[in-house]
Structure formats: structure tokens, C-alpha cells
Subunit: 154 residues, 2 copies
């Protein structure tokens, strides 16, 4: 079997997972650190999804680091299927959360409400951008693992 960059257990996958973790933590920090966010559904949704994505990608980053260090790839079809499914669900959720946050932030900016004082709404926009980048990396991971799946079942 060829070594596929980005599939579970490779150093490419470790880089992707670390990228996801960094972007989701950045999105959480921009959203939650010292500003009000819990009164809007879209912002709470983003915080929940980014928390889930952070836990998921840090867990899989540890699995990848273990595989890379021990040089023993753990590639059972059942595990890869589970990882692909989880990646897909989380990528849809993070795309939905980032678009919701971006549209509400845009609405707040254009309605010139008193809510957007100083750099508050710019922070919401930055948070949505980070969530979008996290979506992109999660989706890449899921595609790499999906590509690997048929070669395991044969």
C-alpha cells in the first residue's frame, strides 16, 4: 500500500490535526475571551462546535503522534470509517457555525447597532474566519481518509 500523505497515522495528518486544533482554539478565543457572546444563538453554536472540534482534533493528533513515533500505523477499516464519519459531521457543523456567525456579524455591522462598539464585531468576524479555516482542514482530513478507505477493504 502506498503511503498516502494526510491519512490517519501519517505526519501529514498530524500537521492537519494540529492546524485544526490551532484554528478552533483561535476561533474560541476570539469569540469567548472577555466579550459577551451567550445572548446570540449563532455565537453559542459556534462556541459549542469549536469546543467539540478542538477535543476531536487534539485526540486524533495524539493518535497520529503515537503512530509516527512508534512507526506502527493503526489502520483498521472500522477505525478509519469512524474517523471519516466524525470528520464529516464536524466539518458540516463547523461550516454551518462559521457561516451563521459571519452573517450575524455582517448584519450587526450593517444595522449600525449600538452593540458593535470598538472592535467587537471585527472580533466576531475574525472568529468566523478561523472557524472557516478549521472547516477547510477538517474537510481535507476527511477526504484523505475517505480516499484511503477502499484500499483497506480490498
Amino acid at each position: 500500500m502506498d503511503e498516502l500523505p494526510g491519512a490517519l497515522g501519517s505526519s501529514g495528518s498530524l500537521a492537519l490535526r494540529l492546524g485544526q486544533a490551532i484554528f478552533s482554539v483561535a476561533s474560541l478565543l476570539f469569540m469567548c475571551f472577555d466579550i459577551p457572546f451567550y445572548s446570540y444563538t449563532a455565537f453559542c453554536f459556534l462556541a459549542t462546535v469549536m469546543g467539540l472540534l478542538m477535543a476531536w482534533s487534539l485526540t486524533l493528533a495524539m493518535v497520529d503522534a503515537f503512530s509516527v513515533l512508534i512507526k506502527l500505523p493503526t489502520r483498521l477499516p472500522g477505525i478509519i470509517s469512524l474517523v471519516v464519519l466524525g470528520d464529516w459531521v464536524l466539518s458540516f457543523l463547523s461550516l454551518a457555525a462559521s457561516c451563521s456567525t459571519a452573517s450575524v456579524a455582517d448584519f450587526l455591522i450593517h444595522s449600525r447597532s449600538s452593540f458593535c462598539e470598538g472592535t467587537l464585531c471585527a472580533r466576531y468576524q475574525l472568529s468566523a474566519t478561523m472557524a472557516f479555516l478549521a472547516w477547510f482542514l477538517t474537510f481535507s482530513s476527511s477526504l484523505f481518509n475517505l480516499w484511503l478507505l477502499p484500499s483497506l477493504n480490498v
Copy 2:
């Protein structure tokens, strides 16, 4: 080759495409018919994406109807790849548009603005629901065609 229900050229695919067309037309009507929508980015985005999805699914419904009537499935790998790619892009766009619209409608309802008079915001929510259902059918179509793809290349 087994007949895969839902792949391009089958009657299952025709049903899926007609469903997509119906839901996208319903979403467009709920959003645009006789109410203001063009002053909000999220609502314009939804109208654009649903217009694209309507054209795309009606075109492919005609291809499917032709294939079913003539009993001559047109399954070149290049065409299927193009259909899968288009379905994926449109499914991501429609998910993003439906979540954006839903979050802005929710925000308008909770902020009790004067904008939400009568059943206006309920119509935006219905439009987002229809777009979400259109996303689900588009995503199903893309999965069926993706499943068919490896058997054509072998």
C-alpha cells in the same frame, strides 16, 4: 455493473433532482415573493444559491428523464466526476446559505425589531428550512454518484 439507485441516469436520481428543484423553488418563493429581502447579505446569498441550484437540478432532471425514457444510461467517468463536483460545491453553498438565513432570521426574531411584522420572519425561517432540505437531497445525490465513480474507472 449493478444498478445503483440514485446514480445519474436512474429513476431514483430523477426523483432526487425533482425534489431538489421543488425545494429550491419553494425556498426562492418564500424568500422573494412580494417581501423585501435585498437589503440583507444573507438573504441575497440564499436567493442566488437557490437560483443556481434550481437551474442545476432542472438540467440534470432533464438528463435523467432522457436516460430513463431512452433506456440508454450516459455514464462517462468525466461526466460523473463533473456532476459530483458540481453537487458538492452546490451542497456546501446551500448549507451555508440556509444556516446564514436561519441565524439572521433567529436574530431578527429575538431582537424584536420592527422589521419582523406579521409573518415576515416566519417566511424567512420557512425559506431556510426549504434550503436545508434542498441541501440534504443534493448531498445524497453527490454521495450516490461518488459511490458509482470507482466502478466506472476500473
